[in-house]
């Protein structure tokens, strides 16, 4: 079963777009090949969610955005994300333009690259080519992924050389100021051996009614003994249909930890996979979701163990209200040979209204004997005994529910390393659940 999509952007358009961005030849070819592949590939098939009637076709591919000369001039919704007095490493993309970029000298001196994807392609083309859609996400996984490769129109490249420990967060904001603009953002994070980096990203749009499409791919590569801590808050408005792919690859002794706030208001498919390739590698994948209105969402979080003694844990917490409906698939997979590995997962869904739907599917796939694995899953309402306990201290029912919900979503909020991003996520949650 395939879904027909009318692709409004053809080979000629893509070739022109690539040239206008001064891309290296290999990138133009990659795009063109991806476009032709997309025509024969199937649409993704998220488990238990029908996407036949979703709108993946309405969008404008390229909209320029003005440069940002001073952080003080930003609108409140974007400004709230930034600590303007202390944002030494910050990239803001406005529509499809790199609008603001700062990277502290102490990092650039050590060879750290933190720049928009187009500048990276021009200045560090070979480096990007080594990793771009190779080890993490493949172009031909499905039609939308191929389309992403063909139409990539924004994103960021982070490169941390060997032995460099970046101990300040790098912050990115993808600001879709225009209501029609599509995000085909590509986030590529490469941490070489023994390096460390913390990356925090916000995606913001305001198109409550106007339809558009976000088809975003994130690739995180952690070399031997590297440590990547990734935080993100997706906050696309109701008009945006979202297809988000996040993929991590961890080599020997490496760690990739994810904290993702999925706060989109539109229909969303999120597929999040971490490959624990190396021995002793590890990953914690935490995500929280609030669904409301008539939103339909599908979340897959998957950690695949190849390395011996690899440790993966998945935590997904979702709050569903109104008529929102979500499927949560948590998959821990231990391949043959990954002995002494440990795969755990916890998926919990809190239902706030009668009409909401939540489906938690914990899955363990284990091809090795000598491992530890466990899962917990639940779908339910706010626990009446927790409510009773809080109310017995004089806290009103409404406030007690609020505390319980915020507490339920705290695992991701607390892990975000930038105070402003943390506060803003708390406020988004507040706005959504009330």
């Amino acid at each position: 079963m395939t879904v027909e999509t009318k692709q409004p952007y053809n080979d000629e358009y893509i070739s022109r777009f690539s040239s206008s961005r001064n891309e290296p030849e290999w990138m133009k070819e990659l795009r063109q090949q991806a476009l032709s592949q997309s025509e024969s590939l199937d649409m993704p098939k998220p488990d238990k969610t029908g996407i036949k009637n979703w709108d993946f076709d309405t969008y404008v591919h390229e909209v320029e955005g003005e440069k940002i000369s001073a952080l003080g001039s930003l609108p409140a919704s974007v400004a709230a994300l930034i600590d303007a007095d202390n944002a030494p490493n910050l990239y803001i993309q406005r529509n499809n333009s790199a609008a603001y970029l700062a990277l502290s000298e102490k990092w650039s001196e050590q060879g750290v690259i933190f720049t928009d994807i187009f500048t990276a392609l021009q200045q560090h083309g070979d480096l990007v080519k080594r990793f771009y859609m190779k080890d993490a996400v493949n172009i031909d996984e499905d039609r939308l992924t191929a389309l992403h490769a063909a139409l990539m129109n924004g994103g960021v490249f982070v490169y941390v050389p060997k032995n460099v420990v970046v101990d300040e967060p790098l912050q990115t904001i993808f600001w879709q100021e225009d209501d029609k603009v599509a995000s085909f953002n590509h986030i590529l994070i490469v941490a070489e051996a023994n390096s460390a980096v913390t990356y925090v990203e916000n995606s913001v749009s305001h198109n409550a009614d106007q339809a558009t499409f976000a088809n975003v791919v994130t690739e995180v590569i952690a070399g031997d003994n590297a440590n990547v801590s990734y935080g993100a808050v997706d906050n696309y408005a109701a008009g945006t249909t979202v297809y988000a792919k996040r993929r991590g690859v961890a080599y020997r002794d490496a760690r990739i930890d994810w904290a993702i706030g999925q706060m989109n208001d539109g229909n969303t498919i999120s597929e999040h996979i971490t490959h624990l390739i190396g021995d002793n590698s590890g990953s914690e994948a935490k995500s929280v979701v609030v669904g409301r209105g008539k939103q339909i969402q599908n979340f897959t979080t998957n950690i695949i163990h190849f390395g011996k003694n690899s440790v993966g844990s998945i935590l997904s917490h979702g709050v569903m209200k109104d008529q929102a409906s979500s499927v949560f698939n948590g998959i821990g997979k231990i391949e043959h040979g990954a002995s002494k590995s440990d795969a755990t997962q916890e998926t919990r869904v809190l239902m706030l209204s009668q009409g909401a739907r939540g489906d938690a599917n914990p899955i363990l796939l284990i091809d090795e004997d000598d491992v530890v694995a466990g899962h917990a899953a639940s779908v339910g309402r706010v626990d009446p005994l927790q409510l009773y306990y809080l109310m017995s201290r004089g806290i009103t029912k409404h406030e007690a529910e609020r505390l319980i919900i915020h507490g339920f979503l705290a695992p991701v909020v607390n892990q975000l390393p930038i105070e402003t991003v943390k506060n803003q996520l708390t406020q988004v949650i507040e706005g959504k659940v009330n």
Binding site: Q386, L390, M391, S392, R393, E399, A410
Partner: protein, 259 residues
Amino acid sequence: MAGSVLEIKDLHVSIEDKEILKGVNLTIKSGEFHAVMGPNGTGKSTLASAIMGHPKYEVTGGSITLDGEDVLEMEVDERARAGLFLAMQYPSEISGVTNADFLRSSINARREEGDEISLMKFIKEMDEAMDFLEMDKNMAQRYLNEGFSGGEKKRNEILQLLMMKAEIGILDEIDSGLDIDALKVVAKGINKLRDENFGCLIITHYQRLLNYIEPDFVHVMMQGRVVKSGGSELSQRLEAEGYDWIKKELNIEDETINA
């Protein structure tokens, strides 16, 4: 406000259609410490839960008033704001909510809007109370009761009691699962509150706690009723002789509810 009175009259309470309390009468005034004792399964904890408004318990008859106000008409949070506090036997664990945030919300719930406790004053009071109860300061930032040991949970209940300044405190088996040192600390916390503005109902089935908190009145519950009341000498006799003499005196064969 001195002189609160909690009055329980002919209280009947059921859980899942099974009658547990079969007509309890009890009056607790400010300044008084009452102990309710009795073997397991006689309705002591049900009494505590019914006063606070536990969702599983249904009051089928009788009345509870606090200073003449109908407690049974109040929501759980209203009962707390009216001045009742229940230190629970099994406090809920609430992930993601820090102990300190919860305590501050609780204190502010009893105060008028605009008259919230300042952060500085709150921290100072909490620090003092935690010192007094010999609690690890880290517990302020831990999630509410999550991963707390039995003893830590009980101390945390007393911490709340100390800080919330209730008029009537009800302690539901606060001594269960405590070692002797923890028991002494908990008792010290409760004794600190003893004054003319505070009344207390202590539910226990061990005399042990009453060695450290001397009750003014002792009541024995059997078969869902208060069957005997007296002074602190009653609890001492129970300690020495057990409950059999009461059963004999009152012609009770099996003291539990199912009798």
